[in-house]
């Protein structure tokens, strides 16, 4: 199973490398005017293109077909962020105190000390 997961991971990254090369050398200029002529920045974009290649292909296709609502750019999911932050705030104490309850001995027991050998 572990070997299979790693094989999938390798396939994902190799595909990402291919997509990153095509997108950053050719496609990005077509859909992002502010990138035209900016070559120094492209090496910094390689890790993102490799890791997010399904998202890159999806977005690239939408931009090429003009299926992007320009107003949507101004609608960040603030409501989703509030909910995510609230869930984090509530779950942290649960994880923390749950882990302390699980502990086999107390979390603040005196640490062992090295005794001097008897004279």
């Amino acid at each position: 199973m572990a070997a299979f997961i790693l094989l999938i991971g390798q396939f994902y990254l190799y595909t990402g490398g291919l997509v990153a090369a095509v997108f950053l050398l050719w496609g990005a200029d077509r859909v992002e005017p502010n990138l035209r002529g900016s070559w120094l920045v492209r090496p910094m974009l390689v890790p993102g293109a490799v890791l997010l290649w399904p998202l890159v292909l999806w977005r690239w296709a939408r931009l090429e077909k003009g299926r992007v609502d320009p107003c949507a750019r101004h609608l960040p999911p603030r409501g989703g962020q509030d909910l995510a932050a609230l869930m984090l705030a509530l779950l942290i104490p649960v994880v923390l105190f749950g882990a302390l309850v699980l502990r086999q001995d107390g979390p603040v027991e005196r640490p062992a000390t090295l005794l001097e050998a008897p004279q």
Partner: protein
């Protein structure tokens, strides 16, 4: 603000920010590597490799904790806003420190595994059905992957290319990543630690994140949604000059009503750059200025001054019975709206 992408838009503030950040990380690692061995349980002394992985692991944890504290702190007290300015470099550095921790772990604990190291890492503990002894490696891998994705997509190009809604949703991964890190430490190192200092610092950091987020949520302006085509905001005099009042509209969006002397205009509260809260900024040189990274917009039409091209939606305003009302529906980004003028707002 930029009309062409560059690797990093360096300025003096970023140099100072990054310099202080790097110095703090170097100081922490030096102190940990210098004194960490002495603080370990005497019955189980640690060697150099374990000390290094603990130094980088704990450093990544505290960096991530600080990153998550900055947002709510800046909302609760404006004096913390400068910390928010270059938070993306903070995040990239955290991902690098966490990756170093992971490399030390793999190269030490799985150095002599009969299978490839990463395969051994995934297969070493598969007891997903129990809490005590839970495979914390999986939690760490998940958090590391999230941090790498966030760091790799932190450049403004990705925000522009993916669009704010997708980019922002992607970057919400920071929340499950932090929870995974807390669980990674709580079910791992905390179960075994004999030094109370570790438990105290770890617990205090995690609880600080929890309490600050709860406080920021509780004090968030306009948590309740208004109703109707026109929504009452406040009396003109209730908005301080050069400042704004934020209101949540029926569709869930937030708008900011700005006052510049006797003139009032309303813009979307979300900056076109990273969705920063424009209404928490102020008017500088006649332009609404985002408190996060200084992106500017004209009050009248929500457009950035030339040569910049960013623009945000505007809203119509009216005065009824001494109260400013805002249209519930936004105008398309960049639509010019004459400011509402009030004789003497007091």
């Amino acid at each position: 603000m930029s009309v062409r992408f560059v690797p990093v838009q360096w300025n003096r503030n970023k140099w100072v920010y990054d310099g202080l950040l790097l110095a703090a990380v170097m100081a922490y690692l030096t102190l940990f590597l210098g004194y960490g061995a002495g603080a370990a349980d005497a019955t189980r002394p640690v060697d150099g490799a374990i000390l290094r992985m603990r130094a980088f692991g704990s450093c990544a944890y505290f960096l991530l904790t600080l990153i998550l504290c900055i947002g709510p702190l800046a909302r609760l007290d404006r004096r913390f806003l400068p910390l928010l300015y270059n938070r993306r470099h903070f995040g990239v550095l955290t991902a690098a420190v966490a990756l170093t921790h992971a490399v030390y772990v793999v190269n030490w604990y799985f150095a002599f595994a009969p299978t490839p190291q990463l395969e051994a890492l995934l297969a070493s503990n598969t007891s997903y059905g129990q809490l005590l002894g839970f495979p914390i490696e999986a939690l760490g891998i998940f958090a590391l992957l999230c941090l790498l994705v966030l760091a790799a997509s932190s450049h403004d190009f990705w925000l522009s290319f993916l669009g704010a809604p997708v980019w922002k949703r992607l970057h919400l991964l920071i929340y499950p990543a932090y929870l995974a890190v807390v669980a990674h430490v709580a079910l791992g190192a905390l179960q075994d630690a004999k030094n109370p200092g570790f438990a105290i610092f770890f617990g205090a950091g995690a609880m600080a994140v929890s309490v600050l987020h709860l406080a920021a949520w509780w004090r968030a302006p306009s948590r309740r949604r208004a109703k109707g085509d026109w929504v009452a905001v406040c009396a003109p005099g209730d908005i301080a000059d050069q400042r704004a009042r934020i209101i949540r509209l029926p569709d869930g969006d937030r708008a900011a009503v700005f006052r510049d002397g006797t003139a009032y205009s309303a813009l979307s509260n979300a900056c076109a750059h990273q969705g920063g809260p424009l209404g928490e900024g102020r008017i500088i040189d006649g332009c609404v200025t985002c408190p996060w990274h200084g992106f500017q917009y004209r009050m009248r039409d929500g457009c950035s001054p030339a040569p910049f091209t960013e623009k945000v939606p505007t809203y119509n305003l009216r005065l009824r019975d001494g109260v400013i009302e805002i249209a519930a529906k936004a105008n398309p980004p960049g639509t010019a709206v004459d400011p509402l003028t009030v004789g003497d707002p007091a």
